[in-house]
């Protein structure tokens, strides 16, 4: 494929008739090229929808967080439980992203470069977590690794605690973000093909050398994109973690659990704590989005 530089945001196209996407009666009238009425209608609908649905609510949270000024926010940032939750969130996210990156790159190489029985099945299984409710993920984990689960007795005997402890939180987070790295890397690997790899082989490189010198540099932007997506997803997971974690403040309370637990409590301090954490998470999400938007053209250029 030729290297076309396509960025989502900046596509300047010549005007074509801009059709409306509603039922026949309204759109039956002939639209001449670049009919400004049609264009503006669509524009307003689209922008209004997005702003009303998303920007407005988000703005309200910002307003509620700082309703009492800067001081309450800063005060709640010193809340030891908040800090503990932040720490836990960081650790769990980093671990799960690392696991998913290793798995993701390996699975992508296997799926693209090799033929083996069950390849299609592997592909489908990797996509499963996206279609399942996170609560179901949590319940599934309990059914296998809980006290009364399939591995329950064995784990108890070995004195390993998974459910209601950090390992379960990590597992739940890994599951929900599973496909993200794989799905970003696979198209790039498919696009690049095996010719460079064969060329490297003909020049004397062994498998490790080929992976480090050829494969990895080729997928680096797609990989970065996938890693950021996974990080965002891992940090933001709630439903699955709600099921498998005991949510003990300071110990097994992730940032998202912190928001939930504090919001459900009564009292201005708890509410402020919830909003502060929510605001922080929102800021980080927007940061992720910006990074992703910056990475997207690089990823598409490869």
């Amino acid at each position: 494929m030729t290297e076309t530089n396509v960025s989502d945001a900046e596509v300047d196209r010549p005007r074509v008739p801009a059709p409306t996407i509603t039922k026949p009666p309204r759109a039956a009238r002939r639209l001449r090229r670049g009919s400004p009425v049609a264009r503006w209608t669509l524009r307003l609908i689209a922008v209004g929808y997005v702003l009303g649905l998303v920007a407005l609510p988000v703005g309200t949270v910002v307003q509620r967080t700082f309703a009492g000024g800067l001081h309450p926010v800063l005060e709640s940032l010193q809340n030891p439980d908040l800090l503990a939750a932040a720490r836990l969130g960081l650790i769990v996210s980093v671990i799960s992203v690392l696991i998913n990156t290793v798995f993701g790159v390996g699975a992508a190489v296997l799926l693209v470069r090799y033929r083996f029985p069950g390849r299609g099945l592997l592909n489908a299984v990797i996509d499963l977590p996206v279609s399942i409710s996170p609560v179901v993920v949590g319940i599934a984990l309990i059914l296998v690794y809980g006290e009364n689960g399939w591995f329950g007795p064995t784990l108890t005997k070995l004195n390993i605690q998974i459910i209601f402890a950090t390992p379960a939180i990590v597992m739940a987070t890994v599951i929900v973000a599973l496909p993200l790295v794989v799905r970003e890397v696979i198209p790039v690997l498919e696009e690049v093909g095996t010719e460079q790899d064969q060329a490297a082989q003909s020049l004397g490189a062994n498998a490790v050398q080929r992976f480090l010198r050829i494969t990895l540099p080729t997928i680096k932007w797609a990989l970065a994109y996938g890693v950021v997506l996974s990080l965002a997803r891992s940090l933001g997971e709630f439903g699955a973690v709600r099921v498998v974690s005991g949510s003990v403040p300071g110990v097994s309370e992730t940032p998202t659990l912190f928001v939930n637990d504090n919001y459900q409590q009564f009292g201005p301090k708890a509410e402020q704590a919830a909003f502060t954490m929510a605001f922080a998470l929102m800021l980080i999400s927007v940061l992720f989005i910006v990074v992703i938007a910056l990475l997207r053209p690089k990823e598409q250029n490869q």
């Binding site: 945001a9 996407i21 669509l42 997005v50 689960g149 890994v174 997971e237 929102m282």
Partner: protein, 283 residues
């Protein structure tokens, strides 16, 4: 560069080296595959199997009872119905938004692009907080949707916004416009062009986005629980009901409802996938 001792006959197969081009597994990649499959089994296959198996653990009748309690049915009606409605709306508005983003140019478009990604990147509970801040009792517009189905619906619409948009956008970008221009020069109206040329091309993408949107809406939890207030029979969604079941120590019941949800998801996804294959064939 030393070569091996003279061999007159091909060596036994297991010593045959694999070349990159052949695509057959080497011992290293075979091992990698084994590890990967083991890992997937532990974190995906086994847990899902556990759900299905546990739901029938006490027999078919128990399964049937647990999924047909009035509460369970109410949650299913609400959840599936809302998910379908939201998906339909997303198919329409998502396509429209994608169209405007790709074919139109205006000040602030980049900001809109970023805003669209927010629901996807935001933790679900934060989304829930965001929604209840605006549509709850302390909201600035005096609108209170807490405990209403409209609130649930809005929450689902919020979190599923990006799916169809992001699915359709790349296809629209890739589309070559000369086909449309040829049609226009032959006298086709804007709507005809859309119906006969553009829609068939983006239909698979719309369906793919719809599938993602439906699956997400079906299982959504964090963004819904705050605004729904979990009113039994009215605004309790299936995921909240599942949480209640597992917390009240009814794993079999929880597994049963979860299995039913999985079945619904599989059915709808298969339907959408077949529709996708049907529309994609025209290429």
């Amino acid at each position: 560069m030393s070569l091996q001792e003279p061999i007159t006959a091909p060596p036994p197969p297991r010593r045959r080296p694999r070349s990159v081009a052949s695509g057959r597994l080497t011992s290293a990649s075979g091992l990698g595959l084994g590890v990967g499959v083991l890992w997937l089994s532990l974190i995906v296959l086994l847990p899902i199997a556990a759900i299905v198996v546990t739901s029938f653990q006490d027999g078919l009748s128990t399964f049937w009872t647990s999924v047909s309690t009035s509460e369970a049915l109410a949650t299913l009606r609400l959840t599936v119905g809302a998910a379908l409605l939201v998906t339909l709306l997303n198919a329409i508005f998502g396509t429209l938004i994608a169209w405007v983003l790709v074919r139109d140019q205006f000040f602030g478009k980049r900001v809109i692009e970023v805003i669209i990604d927010i629901p996807f990147a935001l933790p679900t509970i934060v989304a829930g907080l965001v929604l209840i801040s605006l549509y709850g009792p302390q909201g600035p517009f005096g609108v209170n949707l807490v405990g209403t189905r409209e609130g649930v619906f809005l929450a689902l619409l919020f979190v599923t916004l990006p799916f169809v948009v992001r699915s359709v956008q790349p296809v629209l970008i890739e589309m070559e416009q000369d086909v449309e221009e040829a049609a226009a020069s032959l006298g086709a109206s804007g709507f005809t062009i859309f119906r006969r040329i553009i829609l068939p091309t983006i239909a698979p993408a719309i369906l793919a986005g719809a599938a993602l949107s439906f699956a997400r809406a079906l299982g959504e939890f964090g963004s819904v629980i705050l605004i729904s207030a979990n009113l039994i029979g009215k605004t309790e969604v299936s995921s909240a009901y599942l949480l209640k079941l597992i917390e009240s120590d009814d794993p079999v019941g929880a597994a049963g409802v979860a299995t039913l949800l999985l079945i619904v998801a599989v059915v709808v996804l298969v339907v959408l996938d077949s529709l996708q294959k049907l529309t994609a064939r025209r290429d």
